[in-house]
């Protein structure tokens, strides 16, 4: 990436590319000001960051590097441990303190973190006071993350807190795609610089197609051209199904192609990636999730779809996202140029706007009142702000404040007071304007959760029958909160599989869909998403193998991992909410059935480590954590009673257990069993009997539902169909109905045709329509009802 030059004949310096040279020449990283740097991917930003860190280390101070990608944090950790030599480098990712980092924070001179971890450190700043003041440089990579509605506010809050706690630190903001770089530099009161220099020139072009069915051919043509020339191509599509279809089209066209998406199991994904890297595949068709993390250099990137699914709907792909995907085209040393191809219908000019890098401006997501509320509670709970004017000053300095998009702080405070997350306290003078966090507020801040999450949990846990809820019910409640992520949406085709998975679950909540909707605050497809997430989590506790769970549920293993991480925090909060308040009476004797609190604690461990409700009884013993429980299970000791009756030798054979410890464990188990048997967490409650659909694939239920609302009247030798957005005409041609609407033109059996078939009393369609209309018995869980439930569109 850099080319060598000679200076003065004999002496050679490792040299810089034009962009790096310019940054150095201008002294941007040594002037002492904050700096916003915009350079394309792969053009040496990391090298510049390393030089800036060198200088900080030489002055005896610390540097922090923020990256939102765990994979990148790990990669950098390896690389920087040798790069920075004698200076200790530590990586701190994630929000839970599940495993202790190798190097304590205060020993590391370079700290690699995710924004969430920095947020946690700024919230508990008193315990981190032995290293935060020593930081001189804070590098924020992927700075455009500030605009992300879910992760942006926490990054913004963390940056604001850090700057107030350490006024002497410099910020270096890095990104390839900023639409308003100068505005961001002004917000930071610093300098900025942009370069579009690339080692390999990148060209963008549009490939047009006339009709919808010509699109795959157009893509095939583009990929073929690249491969014929010795290159490799990566095609981004908007859905898993499309990835499979297009990959087979490419194969039929003579290419060595494969698809890559969440439906593949881990070994297959790894094989495909390795084959692609190694050259035995020359084309890969993937969904957008590849965008984050996996490094696959290619010559050509094809953006087959210019829209992406954001969890609720398909929306146009932002320009910055297109350029993040396209930016990986062109391999230094192998290609002399890189190419991005956009596929567009001939009649549309939409694709044009992606050709120029006019990136969307970064607009603060702290503009959302819910996000602001979370930060308000965090500031108060961590002692950084005590009054409304202090909050206004602190939050006014945020990007949202700078952009004039900050919602009213006093209104946010009032809302949080009403919701019971904050309370007022009298100060020394007796005036009651000091803010404190309530117990609920502190729980939200400790677990890094939105206030809404805690309130949903609190409401749910107040239900009169919550003590007999199954683990599945508790998981449903947790998955229904805004912090449960990632959302695992359900396709219509998956309903049957999901119904099958639900057959083994016990649940009080899902017996009555109205109650489920009310308690969980979700309905329709959003509720299906919640059910799927809870199902995945519960399966994880039974099986303990993310790959297996992912395969059974058509998800990524890393999605299972992320889901369980978020659930751990949410369930820990639930456990804290269920705990008796400090001022309650002295502890009662242990009841026979574990209290809700104890069951929640067990569930936290089950989710954390993938343990079921029997193995988790092992963790009731002191000193037995998830790892040891798994080790015992592997040795055949699957619950606390087995442990009580186990052979000493068998237990001592488990890794990390000495003979004396084995003896102690067995003795403890023996003592504990009378109080807590192996089945103390057994599940009771009604089993679900989901109804499998008998729905034929040839009739789309979505369109049939719509067809029910249309009116058909005979006109000549055809029918007029009205009641939709436009009137349409259906005619019989050679015995089959044909419609003049665009949907039919795409080859679908459109709702107008279906309405005509209904009107003519065609038997199959009539039967299906009756099924749609039928009222279901309350005990039977009909997932399709949720699929069609459009009455309340749950919030995205």
């Amino acid at each position: 990436m850099s080319y060598t030059r000679s200076i003065g004949g004999n002496v050679q310096t490792p040299s810089l590319n034009p962009a790096q040279l310019e940054v150095v020449r201008r002294g941007l990283l040594s002037c002492g000001f904050h700096c916003v740097l915009q350079m394309p991917t792969g053009t040496g930003k990391t090298w510049l960051a390393e030089k800036a860190i060198d200088e900080v280390l030489a002055r005896g101070l610390r540097a922090v590097y923020l990256t939102p990608l765990r994979a990148q944090a790990d990669e950098l950790l390896q690389r920087w441990r040798s790069r920075f030599g004698k200076y200790p480098v530590g990586a701190y990712a994630g929000t839970t303190a599940g495993t202790e980092p190798e190097i304590p924070y205060n020993k590391a001179r370079v700290l690699i973190m995710t924004p969430e971890r920095l947020d946690a450190c700024t919230r508990w700043w008193r315990t981190h006071w032995d290293w935060i003041p020593d930081v001189e440089l804070l590098i924020v990579d992927e700075f455009h993350l500030l605009a992300d509605p879910s992760r942006g506010p926490r990054l913004e809050g963390a940056l604001g807190r850090f700057r107030r706690l350490n006024p002497l630190t410099r910020i270096l903001a890095l990104s390839a795609t900023l639409g308003n770089r100068e505005e961001l530099a002004d917000w930071l009161e610093g300098v900025e610089y942009a370069s579009d220099w690339r080692p390999i020139p990148l060209s963008w072009r549009v490939a047009r197609y006339k009709r919808a069915q010509d699109k795959p051919e157009a893509a095939l043509g583009a990929v073929r051209g690249c491969v014929a020339d010795g290159g490799r191509s990566l095609v981004f599509v908007q859905s898993r199904r499309r990835a499979e279809q297009l990959a087979s089209v490419l194969r039929e066209g003579g290419l060595r192609a494969a698809h890559h998406h969440a439906g593949l199991d881990a070994p297959t994904r790894r094989t495909v990636e390795a084959a692609f890297r190694g050259g035995s595949l020359n084309a890969m068709v993937a969904t957008g999730t590849l965008e984050m993390g996996v490094n696959l250099p290619v010559r050509q990137v094809v953006l087959y779809d210019l829209q992406a699914f954001d969890g609720a709907d398909y929306r146009p792909l932002p320009v910055w996202s297109a350029w993040q995907r396209g930016g990986r085209a062109g391999r230094p040393g192998q290609d002399d140029r890189g190419e991005v191809v956009l596929l567009s219908p001939a009649w549309s000019r939409e694709a044009e706007r992606y050709l120029t890098p006019n990136f969307e401006p970064i607009r603060s997501s702290l503009a959302a009142p819910a996000a602001l509320a979370e930060q308000v509670v965090a500031e108060v709970a961590t002692g950084l702000c005590r009054t409304v004017p202090q909050l206004q000053r602190a939050l006014g300095a945020s990007l949202a404040g700078f952009q004039g998009r900050l919602p009213s702080v006093s209104k946010s405070v009032a809302t949080m007071l009403d919701a019971g997350m904050l309370a007022t306290k009298a100060d020394e003078a007796g005036a009651s304007h000091m803010l404190v966090a309530t117990r609920l507020g502190r729980i939200a801040v400790r677990q890094m959760l939105a206030p809404d999450t805690v309130l949903t949990l609190a409401r749910g846990l107040c239900q009169p029958d919550v003590d007999r809820w199954s683990f599945f019910d508790l998981l449903l409640l947790a998955c229904a909160t805004v912090d449960a992520e990632p959302p695992l949406t359900v396709d219509f085709e998956e309903l049957d599989e999901l119904a099958a998975l639900l057959g083994s679950e016990r649940s009080w909540l899902l017996r009555d869909l109205d109650r489920a909707r009310a308690t969980l605050g979700r309905s329709g497809r959003a509720l299906l998403t919640v059910i799927k997430m809870a199902t995945c989590a519960r399966r994880w506790t039974r099986v303990g193998d993310a790959d297996e769970v992912a395969e059974a549920t058509a998800t990524y293993p890393f999605e299972i991992g992320r889901l369980c991480e978020s659930l751990e925090r949410i369930l820990s909060a639930a456990q804290a909410i269920a705990a008796p308040k400090d001022d309650e009476a002295a502890p009662e004797p242990i009841p026979e059935e574990p209290a809700l609190r104890e069951r929640l604690r067990a569930l936290v461990t089950m989710v954390q480590a993938g343990l079921d409700e029997e193995v988790v009884t092992l963790t009731l013993l002191s000193g037995v954590g998830p790892t040891l429980a798994r080790g015992l299970r592997a040795a055949g000791v699957t619950d606390i009673e087995e442990l009580a009756g186990a052979e000493l030798g068998a237990v001592a054979a488990v890794r990390g257990v000495s003979a004396s410890r084995a003896e102690r464990l067995i003795a403890e188990a023996v003592a504990k069993v009378p109080e807590r048997a192996a089945w103390c967490f057994r599940e009771t409650g009604p089993q679900l009997q989901p109804i499998a659909s008998t729905w034929p694939v040839s009739v789309d239920p979505y369109r049939l539902r719509r067809a029910l609302d249309l009116r058909v009247s005979a006109r000549g030798d055809g029918w007029a169909v009205t009641g939709g957005s436009d009137p349409h005409r259906v005619e019989l041609v050679a015995g089959t109905p044909r419609c003049d609407c665009p949907d039919f033109a795409k080859g679908k059996v459109c709702k107008h045709v279906l309405s005509v078939r209904l009107a003519t009393r065609e038997p199959e369609v009539t039967r299906l329509a009756d099924e749609l209309r039928r009222v279901r018995a309350p005990e039977a869980l009909d997932l399709q009802t949720l699929w069609f439930d459009q009455s309340v569109r749950a919030s995205a």
Partner: protein, 305 residues
């Protein structure tokens, strides 16, 4: 002969002129806990009173100056006594038992923990009765002589403390320290006299004339303008806690005198640091070196700096 340009301590070099921030340990001043980690970035040494130094859990990463705590003599309940020809101080704290400060106990602590130490002196406030003033002056000198003869640690820098009420008494005191081998001389008791700067300067000039080659420290005067004048008159170092005390009250040295009420802890921190930077003229946030791409690898030892 002029005084040296710096003080070399075991924990680092303190270049002159030096503005030493005062800090405390323990629970009494929470703002100090916030400020203390930033002191190495804005100062070259830090001053702590013995009383608070006792509560120190970890030493700061800066040369540590520890005074004797004799300042407590100004309290009504304190008693300045003579014991074995030396001056001792009975301190009656509001909570807890009476404590007696002696030259021995003070030096002992300083030899264990300090990088720079100050002898046990007794302030002589304006309006002190002449006999009492002479008594205190005599004990101050006796203590200084004792410490000079009984110091053991080779790398502990020891300053003899001067107390006086006018130029003449200051001269007498300074003359007594002339050949005792002190690393420097410190003048106390000037804070209550600070309203009349001419009196202050008279004392300072007197000591400076008597001991032309000795580093000179002035206790407790931190106002930026006053400090500039002292440095111009040949004082090498000063210490002050005003930067943080004013911040706690919402006052900025660079401001127009308005008092900000209702400050959040980080705001007070920032104000304290900006007060300190202003008073000490430390430059904040600008990198001291410009680095090149890579140092040129040549055979000569000179680096790229």
């Amino acid at each position: 002969m002029s005084p040296p340009v710096q003080l070399v301590t075991r924990r680092g070099v303190v270049p002159f002129p030096a503005y030493l921030p005062v800090t405390t340990f323990g629970k009494k001043y929470p703002l100090d806990d916030l400020v203390r980690p930033y002191l190495p970035r804005l100062a070259r040494g830090v001053m702590v009173s013995l009383h608070y130094a006792r509560q120190m859990t970890a030493p700061p990463r800066l040369p540590l100056f520890v005074d004797s705590g004799g300042f407590a003599a100004i309290f009504q309940t304190s008693v300045v006594r003579e014991e074995h020809d030396l001056g001792v101080l009975d301190v009656h704290p509001s909570e807890g038992v009476m404590e007696t400060l002696t030259p021995m106990s003070v030096l002992d602590f300083q030899e264990q923990h300090a990088d720079v130490a100050f002898t046990l002196d007794f302030p002589i406030p304006p309006g002190t009765e002449p006999n009492e003033a002479e008594r205190r002056l005599g004990l101050t000198i006796a203590n200084a002589r004792w410490a000079a003869s009984n110091r053991r640690r080779a790398d502990l820098r020891l300053y003899g403390c001067v107390q006086a009420w006018d130029a003449e008494s200051a001269r007498r005191c300074a003359r007594a320290y002339a050949d005792l081998g002190f690393d420097g001389v410190a003048i106390g008791g000037l804070v209550p006299r600070a309203r009349k700067l001419d009196d202050v300067f008279a004392i300072v000039d007197a000591v400076r004339e008597e001991l032309p080659s000795s580093p000179l420290h002035v206790f407790g005067l931190g106002n930026p303008a006053t400090v500039r004048s002292l440095f111009e008159r040949g004082v090498q170092s000063v210490d002050s806690s005003s930067y943080v005390k004013l911040a706690a009250s919402g006052i900025s040295w660079g401001g127009d005198g308005t008092v900000v009420t209702d400050m959040a802890p980080p705001e007070r921190l920032r104000l304290a640091l900006s007060n300190l930077a202003l008073a000490s003229r430390a430059t904040v946030g600008l990198a001291p070196r410009v680095w090149l791409a890579e140092p040129v690898r040549s055979s000569s030892p000179a680096g790229a700096e």
